[in-house]
Point group: C2
Chain length 504, copies 2
Amino acid sequence: MTNTSVAKWDVYEASLAGPAGGNPFLDVTLDGFFRQHGRVVRVPGFYDGGGVYKLRFMPDNEGEWSFSTRSNVAELDGKSGAFTVTPARPEVHGPVRVANKFHFAYADGTPYLSFGTTCYAWTHQPLAEQQKTLATLKKTRFNKIRMGVFPKDYPYNVNEPLHDVYQPGADGKLDFDRPNPESFRHFENQVKALGELGIEADIIIFHPYDRWGYCDMSEEQDYRYVAYLTARLAAYRNVWWALANEYDFLLDTKPLHQWERYFHIIEENDPYGHLRSIHNGDPAANYDHRKPWVTHVCIQNWDVKRTPEWRADYGKPVVNDEPEYEGNIIQCWGNISAGELTHRFWTTLMRGGYAGHGETYSHPQDLIWWAKGGELHGEAWKRIGFLRDLLEEDVTHGLEPIERATGFPWNRISGARDGDVTYIYFGEHQPVIWAAGLPQDDRRYAVDLIDTWNMTVTPAKIVPAPENHPTRHGAIVRPRRPDAAFAVELPGKPYLAIRVRPLD
Amino acid sequence: MTNTSVAKWDVYEASLAGPAGGNPFLDVTLDGFFRQHGRVVRVPGFYDGGGVYKLRFMPDNEGEWSFSTRSNVAELDGKSGAFTVTPARPEVHGPVRVANKFHFAYADGTPYLSFGTTCYAWTHQPLAEQQKTLATLKKTRFNKIRMGVFPKDYPYNVNEPLHDVYQPGADGKLDFDRPNPESFRHFENQVKALGELGIEADIIIFHPYDRWGYCDMSEEQDYRYVAYLTARLAAYRNVWWALANEYDFLLDTKPLHQWERYFHIIEENDPYGHLRSIHNGDPAANYDHRKPWVTHVCIQNWDVKRTPEWRADYGKPVVNDEPEYEGNIIQCWGNISAGELTHRFWTTLMRGGYAGHGETYSHPQDLIWWAKGGELHGEAWKRIGFLRDLLEEDVTHGLEPIERATGFPWNRISGARDGDVTYIYFGEHQPVIWAAGLPQDDRRYAVDLIDTWNMTVTPAKIVPAPENHPTRHGAIVRPRRPDAAFAVELPGKPYLAIRVRPLD
């Protein structure tokens, strides 16, 4: 028992000495029972190699805690300890949860607007490259990153990983009954480093881009892997569980019932209830995110104006993690322009969803951000950071599409409200005047014109709403446009937005 | 009997004197029976005012023809005549038909790639403005125009029409039992003028933007109107029947069974079988174009990558007549950028459909092309003309999407073939190298790079297809990329296309 105090939402870790012989990964069971007042939290332990067993616990309440252990091995059974939980450190808000049905918030109630990026295999690159990735992330405004436990085999990704995730067996091949603790320790350190940067680690548990055999582990090995991963990582507050990148491309070796069991194993072993989702490859192969073990929708789809459909289909927060990547490589999912990715972020946010970034510019050494991290070469990331900063100025509830998001005119123009602040994003539309969605009452408002590419916010010119004229046979002529008390004059170019805030 | 000869696919017109008293529109029936060899074609006649009745006939075969009449009025019954049909004039190819399931061709087999525009009420504007419209059309490459029989009441459209479509009754209101022949004669003259410019007249029979009462005609009056229109106009080779602009906004006064009857009245009275379709307002309210009386799909939808879905849904040519208009007005359907409309044309064509143009730039006198015609102020029309000219260089069958248009990568990138010519349109994608969809064989090809905005065609740089690498666990490594014999180097910017033609 090394620690005697730990801050709320940090990791309390207990190490215990136990047997090193046989296969401890298979043979030894260990659970910790953490108690405060009448409350008991079961925490699965894990073998960390070299005869060392660990329990990790993320306390969510200040004060005195104690724990005891249960094991099928005498040396590990009936151990106990106690520690003090101090207030959370500054900038630590706890794990992210679903809030307001379609949105997220940290455990302390601070709203969380998800602005993610993607570096699938960054923890498997040379250490100097990993340092670069963290340095790059620090200057961006991303607050989530998608990253795989396993290394990646794919065009531009032919290097060997820093660590194998399993230990070699007697035949030199990986022994999928023996995880490699060194690999996991490294992975955890990087999850922790991300946490210190305020970045959620969206941990991809399975993916199809493999030459080492991870895709061909047996069903039982898969289940043990998921349980081991959960035992090691659940105590990190910034963990999200992404069951797969492109699960539908893995159905040949992992049929659907296994995916349900993976979810259940996490539910049974993650006492903190971290966010859980799963990501499709083919846009027609979305997982059924209505299933109760899925906390939010993870999706790959470029047709971002359909975001309100996905909200309606699943009734959960929608995170479109792959609305295609900014870049110029030969692969069709990795070569949209910076302007287009910026546009897809705005469109997604202004329809009540969240979008994910990735960058895939061709590089002479194949150092491409989307898989390896390193450096960013594009332009969208700055505009995405601008969007995050802008929205966080006023965030209260999260962005809800204006009125009937699938009806006129909000099926064509994107608009949303967060509390009493209204945003309208015109995208490829370029009206010289706009009224729909503007306030109908007589309060005073400040209206700003936002250039989403040039990242400027300037006061917009207010003009009277246009004269009314019936727009259909039988329509009633009202004395003024019924949908706004005023209109906004615009410069008649695309990719602009307006923001309307009440002045009093 | 004035004419004694007429060219194939021109209009043969016979005038007959008959009663002018009572209401000839209601009281008198007249049919012509046009004969050549054993063939008989029934042609409905119509009252043209002033005691004059007419039969119009478009012959589709050269040689001697004769006709006789049948009427419930003795003066018009049993009349007969004969005339000679000479070869079609140069540039006259006959009416447009469906060809190759998803495409169109003129009656003489010449392929017809539809590049339409929209001037809803141009024939109701002052005559000088109408002359401008025809002059503008002459310099564009549009070969179809959507235009209403009735005038339009709508924002920017508050002027009175040149002619009322019906005659005033004793109470000063329009008498919907008495069409105004002067109005129809003017309309026909403009249909004919369009024909001389090689432009199909996509005649909109009903629309909801009305203050004169046309939307509130009785069911019987509607049926008589459709029959009268058909009798007058069917003999013009360049007529298409568009039953409505936005029929779903008219369902309050014209329920669905009436629409079916309108179609049937046209079928019964148009002996030439001109193209028939009907256009929706709400994108979720497409008419069921599978119905056998619909010849092709007419649609309003901005989500143009879905074109292959509509082809699959209906199994007919898809004409997306409103993928939104280039412009800057307050209405959300009328303010996309020129670049965006050009992009939507390319995307639609490269997915096996046809698109329609409209222009809605704010104008101090409200002279807006989309409703009034006049002059064009935008930029898309030139790029659309460039696209038509480009495709007509090689047209044989019409553009068919490459392989599985809803599958990878053709759900993201747009590509199509016409005969042995391949086109790939990258749109918002900007790869620096591309291989998918390029030829797999060892023939020699000419490959051109097309800048869709700057309207340039230049030879593309051919490079070896990239080294193969398995892209998924269990994938077989082949010695070269299986999907192309070579690759194309590209400048890494959006809105480019390539064209691949065999050299021998």
